[in-house]
């Protein structure tokens, strides 16, 4: 490191301008983009990277226009994290080794539903789909056969990452069984305020404090997910906000080390919305709201720049006040 008194814009500009792809990387990226563009023009799904079961399980978020919304009855005594549980599973965790190779280790994780509480059609559907995925194509033979090519499956099933017609048929069966609708294709939105407008919701980031949403995606029924950060206690707490509209079939679980690791408590916001808060004091906190027409989960990731997760229960309550949950009925 050199000794300097000040760093000028020119120093930074010069350093950043030295970053550039070499010719091989430039050609490689263009080739992949052109291949994906060709597929897009044929109305086929673009090539997918790193098809692994862990990614497949995590990538889709469910729902479609819902009419079966069970009216939210807040039963605080029974509204615990365990009511979102989908059971434990083994997950392949990718790790890039020092030599650039990728290895996978298998770890057990708890899955919780982002779609609804146990007993609801949304939760039952998620569990049935998870059970199906557990036993389907266990050695990845079918996935390997499909590769990065087009699957020929309608974009109505995009949210579930089906790669065989059999998987799409299973989705149809689950939807029929539980009276749910497909989510359909997602729309990526760089401006989250536009996302709110498109989904007919209010500004959920208009709570107290500085809450900056980054970007997200939404479905035609009003289901959405976006990410952002809240300035709090001298740091920046990153989060992911998921809203799953009831009556739709969403399939994305959230993975936890174990529900028993979480301290849980009920909390009522200053504007009267009842929440379940959970904090494992080690890696993340969760905020869950069972609203009349949707099920809301906020995955609180903490301040990444701090290196460790450091949020007290009071911090989590203050964080919850940075949102206006009345904006997402």
């Amino acid at each position: 490191m050199r000794e300097v008194d000040t760093v000028t814009n020119e120093d930074i500009r010069r350093a950043l301008l030295s970053v550039r792809p070499d010719d091989a990387a430039r050609a490689r990226m263009l080739g992949h983009i052109r291949a994906a563009a060709a597929l897009e023009r044929e109305k086929a799904p673009p090539p997918r990277r790193r098809w692994r079961r862990g990614v497949l399980l995590a990538a889709a978020l469910g729902a479609a226009a819902g009419l079966t919304a069970a009216v939210a009855a807040y039963e605080t005594d029974f509204f615990g994290l365990w009511r979102t549980d989908l059971g434990r599973t083994e997950l392949e965790i990718p790790k890039v080794e020092a030599d650039g190779g990728i290895t996978y280790r298998v770890e057990e994780r708890e899955r919780i539903s982002l779609q609804g509480l146990a007993g609801t059609p949304e939760h039952q559907a998620s569990r049935e789909w998870e059970d199906f995925l557990e036993q389907y194509d266990p050695d990845g033979t079918l996935l390997e056969a499909v590769g990065n090519g087009p699957t020929g499956i309608s974009d109505a099933y995009d949210a579930y990452l089906c790669y065989t017609p059999e998987m799409a048929e299973k989705i149809d069966g689950i939807c029929a069984k539980y009276g749910l609708r497909l989510l359909g294709p997602a729309t990526v939105e760089e401006d989250v305020r536009t996302l709110f407008a498109r989904t007919g919701t209010g500004d959920v980031c208009a709570g107290s404090g500085s809450n900056t949403p980054w970007s997200g995606y939404w479905y035609r029924d009003g289901t959405f997910l976006f990410e952002g950060a809240v300035e709090q206690s001298g740091g920046t707490v990153d989060y992911q906000f998921s809203r799953a509209v009831k009556g739709s079939f969403g399939s994305t679980p959230l993975y936890l080390s174990g529900i028993e690791d979480y301290e849980q408590w009920s909390y009522t916001t200053e504007n009267g919305v009842e929440l379940l808060l959970a904090n494992d004091h080690a890696s993340k906190a969760l905020i869950i709201a069972d609203r009349e027409r949707s099920f809301v989960t906020v995955n609180v990731l903490g301040d990444w720049s701090a290196g460790t997760f450091q949020m007290s229960d009071r911090d989590v309550e203050d964080f919850a006040e940075a949102f206006d949950f009345t904006a997402v009925p």
């Binding site: 930074i12 792809p21 790790k95 890039v96 760089e190 959230l254």
Partner: protein, 155 residues
């Protein structure tokens, strides 16, 4: 009117115009060539599927930079992504020299990087960055000031 990406030629034109800037932004966040290439591709695919039209090449460039920045933030925090994977990725050697200033810039917290890049490398003013990133001007000013202090301290 911006490019219509309905032909390979138009797509290649915009790629050749903007790939260096998009690559720089993605590398600043991802800090390894493999993930950077993934995110560059993702950014151009977002452009392709967005149907965006731009008033000028400056507008096109700004959109790509902000989209790349957001895509990287998303990738770094997706549900399944784990911090140790990213750190292990950094062992891959980049195709360019990483000097002290660049190392210090790469070590900045992620939330400062897009602001620093847009200001120092692209020459945007504080109000322009605030509009691009949809955040208050005070936030941009604070982040630039904090980033500069961190850089001076680390160097």
């Amino acid at each position: 009117m911006g490019p219509d990406l309905s032909t390979d030629g138009e797509l290649t034109d915009i790629y050749n115009r903007q790939v260096d800037a998009v690559y720089r932004v993605c590398y600043a966040f991802m800090k390894n060539p493999a993930d950077t290439e993934d995110l560059v591709q993702e950014t151009f695919l977002k452009l392709l599927t967005s149907g965006r039209r731009f008033d000028s090449q400056d507008h096109e460039r700004a959109w790509l930079i902000v989209t790349a920045s957001n895509a990287c933030k998303d990738a770094l925090k997706h549900w399944w992504r784990r911090r140790e994977d990213l750190e292990a990725c950094q062992a891959q050697a980049p195709p360019f020299e990483v000097d002290g200033v660049l190392s210090a810039v790469l070590a900045l917290p992620d939330r400062y990087k897009d602001v620093v890049y847009l200001h120092c490398c692209e020459g945007y003013s504080t109000p322009e960055i605030a509009r691009l990133l949809h955040c208050p001007q005070s936030t941009v000013r604070n982040r630039l000031a904090r980033a500069r202090r961190m850089l001076e301290k680390s160097l």
